[in-house]
Structure formats: structure tokens, C-alpha cells
Symmetry: C2
Subunit: 135 residues, 2 copies
DNA sequence: CGGCATCCTTATGGATACTG
DNA sequence: CAGTATCCATAAGGATGCCG
């Protein structure tokens, strides 16, 4: 009886199961902007407009959407100052800061190894171009 | 003259610029499956079918696509044994293993903090439900 | 300023069928 | 077994306009 063959293969690390909740968190990080927004806030709270300018290329919609998602997940908190015009400031929660330390190292890794990756891609493409199935 | 106002705001961490190549790497990680595939390979090489079974829920298409992308980036290597039927084995390159140490801690974080996130989301939703703009 | 609502285009990903 | 190719549904994301 093969009820749970997967678990026997590697020994039950649960992110690998379809309905494991922790996959949600990976899904969260699978947002192109999440890592950058958290990084941008790691140096201190910022207002909406400042974030928008800092995260070159993000649209208003995606910034709003990303911030809501992060706020809902308890990673970012939102402080409203009822001035005129209204000011809204975003900052990391303790949980957000905790995650940021990991994401920061991922961003650093990206910057440090982008050259190696670019080179690997070029090499791969060249190999692929040279052996284009000569039928 | 405001040629590069963004850099003065935070001091030149370049992932934040639109055309910075390191954003590509973040884009790579923005693939729902990348983190899981690399994690699945962290315990040793695996064959295509084994990966597919281990990563519960992945389709054949997405697995192929993800593996190609990772192979092209130099994070995974692919070894073909011309047996019948053919065997194809995937494993981490040194670069891939290096990245995996970071991603592993992200997966661990996900598993450790999923409860806090779930609770935060529930609280947020409840707050939102209780203050539905009583106009 | 900091949004939300709408429209519309494109990218993503699943299902299915076929191949070496 | 390990793919490739095709079709199709849905979701992601950009552009625009309006509002408190």
C-alpha cells in the first residue's frame, strides 16, 4: 500500500507537501516586489511616495497591493498621520525585521553572484546554439 | 538637477534600480518552484520522476521549465545516462549548493513562522470586517 | 498624498496528446 | 522515462481616471 510514498523517499520535510501551510510563505516571497519592499524598509520607515520612488519601476497598484499583503501577514505596519495632505508611513514589524535579515542575505547573494549566473547562461546558450539538432 | 534622486535617499543599494542585473536573480527566486526544487536536490541528486513525485503538486511542464532555468543559470546540472529507458539525473552545482544554504534558512523560517503569519492574517481580516466603513 | 476601481494586455500555468 | 508541443483558462500586472 502506497499511502504516502513521498515521505519515505526523503523523510518528511513538509514544505514539499501540497497543502503544507509553509508553502504559503514561499508563495509570499514569490512576489517579485516583496523582497525589495522589505529591503527598502530595512533602513527605517518610509512613506508611500518615498517607497514608490525608491523602488524604481514599481507601479502604484503593485506597491499598494504588496504593502497590503505584507501588512496583513504582520510583516509591515502602517501608520497614518491625519494631516493635510494625509501622511502614511510604513515600517517593518519585529517579525518583518526578522525575515529581512534572511532576505538581505539573499539580495547580497544576488549581487555577488550575478556575474557567475550571467556567464553560465551565456555558456548554456552557446552550447545550445552549437548543437541545434543537426537533422 | 535631479539626475539620480533615488540614490541620495538611501545610498546606492543597487538592487533597487530598474535595470540592475541582480534583480534577475530575485526574479529567479520569484518562481514558486525554484526554492522547492533546489531544496529537494539539497539532499543529493534525483531523477526527474523522483523529483516530480517529491514535489507534490508540480506539473511535468513546470518541473521541466524550472529545471531548465536552473540548469541554464548554472545552479543545477543534468546528467544523462543513455540506458533504456533513459535516465536523467539532476544535482546541485557548487553555486547551487551555495545558494541552497540561504534558501534552506528561508524554508526553515517559513515553517517556523507560518503560525504567526496565519494569526496575523486572521487578526487583520477580523479588524477589516469590523470596520467596514459604516457610512 | 495615498489610495481604489476599471479596463485591458500579457504572462503564467494546467491539461492533454504525442515522441525518442 | 523524460521529455516536447499545443491549447486554453486564469491570474498578474500596467494604464488611466477618480476620490477623501
Amino acid at each position: 500500500m502506497y499511502t504516502t510514498p513521498d515521505l519515505r523517499e526523503l523523510g518528511g520535510a513538509n514544505v514539499y507537501l501540497r497543502n503544507c501551510a509553509s508553502r504559503d510563505v514561499l508563495g509570499l516571497l514569490s512576489n517579485k516586489w516583496v523582497c525589495l519592499v522589505l529591503g527598502s524598509l530595512s533602513s527605517g520607515p518610509r512613506r508611500f511616495g518615498a517607497l514608490r520612488r525608491h523602488l524604481d519601476g514599481i507601479t502604484q497598484k503593485m506597491l499598494t497591493q504588496t504593502l497590503r499583503e505584507l501588512e496583513r501577514a504582520g510583516l509591515v505596519d502602517r501608520r497614518v498621520f491625519p494631516t493635510t495632505p494625509p501622511q502614511v508611513e510604513y515600517g517593518l514589524t519585529p517579525l518583518g525585521e526578522n525575515l529581512e535579515t534572511l532576505l538581505g542575505s539573499v539580495r547580497t547573494w544576488s549581487e555577488e553572484h550575478i556575474d557567475a549566473i550571467t556567464a553560465a547562461r551565456a555558456a548554456y546558450d552557446e552550447r545550445a546554439a552549437q548543437a541545434p539538432k543537426p537533422l
